[in-house]
Amino acid sequence: MNTHSLHDTTTLLGRSLRHILRSPDTIITTAITPIAMLLMFVYVFGGAIDTGGAKYVNYLLPGILLITVASGVAYTALRLYTDTASGIFERFQSMPIARSAVLWGHVITSVIANLISLVLVVLVAVAIGFRSPAGVAAWLAVLGIMVLFTLALTWLAVSAGLAAKSPDGAGAFAYPLLFLPFVSSAFVPTSGMPGAVRWFAEHQPVTSIVNTLRNLYAERPLGNNLWTALAWCVGLLVVAYALGVRTYHRKLA
């Protein structure tokens, strides 16, 4: 490995963080749609949804957090697309720098930007009545799962951004991700869904992640959900990482 890996990654991380600092609108836009959904579901649909006694904002929050990440990584893909299209990737490539640094600079930036958006969404949730009795350990676990989930989606975004032919195409991969939470336990309990839909909802990654987050901050026993959620996140991360690195080599090496 190149001895400069860490130095180069830090330098390139500094560069893309500066991009975010100069266009804070990307963080705001990432947070606005989930916040609007949060308000709409809590104040409009929430009254008609029976979640078995839990406060609806508490029930809803995990799904909203996942949607936040799914919309945030669209910007990650866009930043990668822009670097490829502008030729600056090629410039970096022709320089004596660690190859991995180019991608990791973007990946770490994506995690930081998404965490800021997530904090914004949680603050709004608290403002409209979200409360949790959970302690520091449980919240660290929530943070850990969100970081893992963000990393997995970010590496998907890397492939999408590198392979895209247009700026619109770069973010398009995120749309299906935005809809997954709707067919899960994120907004309504799966028990009311018809057969096939219910089967899908209970076996797709979002449900186990959502249930785990919900149980963590409600201080309820986690059961198998935790392991299913971790398996999905780690599995997705491994596949997405391999795909990202492959796309990178195909495109630029």
Partner: protein, 272 residues
């Protein structure tokens, strides 16, 4: 003058799928010279440059750059060369100075800030250094692009169509930068589709056509390939470029350095 060539290419081949872009390219380029690779669009100029700067691998053939083999010593080559691609690869969101600092840091040099300031000065961009590159004109971007390439003083510079899309003034600025580079001992490999660019700048010129080098020599050697010149009398008319430059005033800094505009007012020649 006998010196070992700084770039030596032999039998270079490259295909993209069924398309055979390079069909055996041979070239030698002397250290400290300006070498122009001429060719029409799609002739394979960019492919040659990309292979030499390790962005692409050749299918066959060999190339040595600054004593390093492209096939086995890619890392050393990246230390020796700098590539300025066809489109100014600058970061639009950063300022000009930040772009230069970024490259200095990525080349692992000490005092990146001082290096950036020196480059801004050298390319008459000091006044614009604190502005975001998105606000720069095409000529300023291209100058910044070249300034970024020169950081760390690599002995070999590849300029891939450096003046495509530039206005005549910016073009002359780039030409001057290229001449300064060669005077400083840097080897410049320049690709261009503008014949006059090669004619004005290059010590040697090679014409790449359909994946092979058709001819390779100095301008006078190339001219000698044609039938002996016939003496004819033509009225010397100013070219449109002469007229344009006389009217707008020749400025060295493409608009951001008004003190340099005091070039002698050029009288438009009316008769010769």
């Amino acid at each position: 003058m006998i010196t070992t060539p700084v770039i030596r290419i032999a039998g270079l081949r490259k295909s993209f799928g069924d398309l055979e872009v390079l069909r055996g390219v041979d070239l030698e380029i002397a250290r400290g010279s300006i070498f122009a690779l001429l060719g029409s669009n799609g002739a394979g100029k960019t492919t040659v440059v990309k292979i030499l700067s390790t962005l692409l691998t050749a299918d066959a053939g060999s190339a040595v750059v600054n004593g390093f083999d492209i096939a086995t010593q890619a890392a050393e080559i990246r230390e020796s060369v700098s590539l300025t691609g066809q489109f100014a690869a600058v970061d639009e969101i950063l300022t000009g100075r930040e772009n230069l600092v970024l490259i200095a840091k990525l080349r692992h040099l000490d005092h990146p800030g001082r290096i950036a300031d020196e480059q801004l000065e050298r390319f008459s961009l000091s006044d614009a250094g604190g502005r975001r590159v998105a606000t720069y004109s095409g000529g300023m971007r291209r100058r910044l692009d070249i300034a970024m390439s020169l950081i760390g003083s690599p002995p070999v510079i590849f300029l891939d169509e450096p003046t495509t899309g530039l206005d005549p003034e910016a073009r002359l600025d780039v030409w001057q930068s290229v001449r300064d580079l060669a005077h400083g001992g840097t080897t410049v490999l320049l690709t261009t589709q503008y014949l006059d660019e090669a004619e004005h700048l290059a010590d040697r010129i090679a014409i790449l056509h359909e994946g092979r080098i058709l001819v390779d020599g100095t301008l006078s050697e190339l001219k000698a390939l044609m039938p002996p010149a016939q003496v004819t009398y033509v009225q010397k008319q100013p070219s449109l470029e002469d007229v344009f430059l006389a009217l707008v005033g020749r400025r060295t800094a493409a608009g951001n350095n008004p003190t340099d505009t005091a070039a002698p007012a050029v009288a438009i020649p009316t008769a010769v």
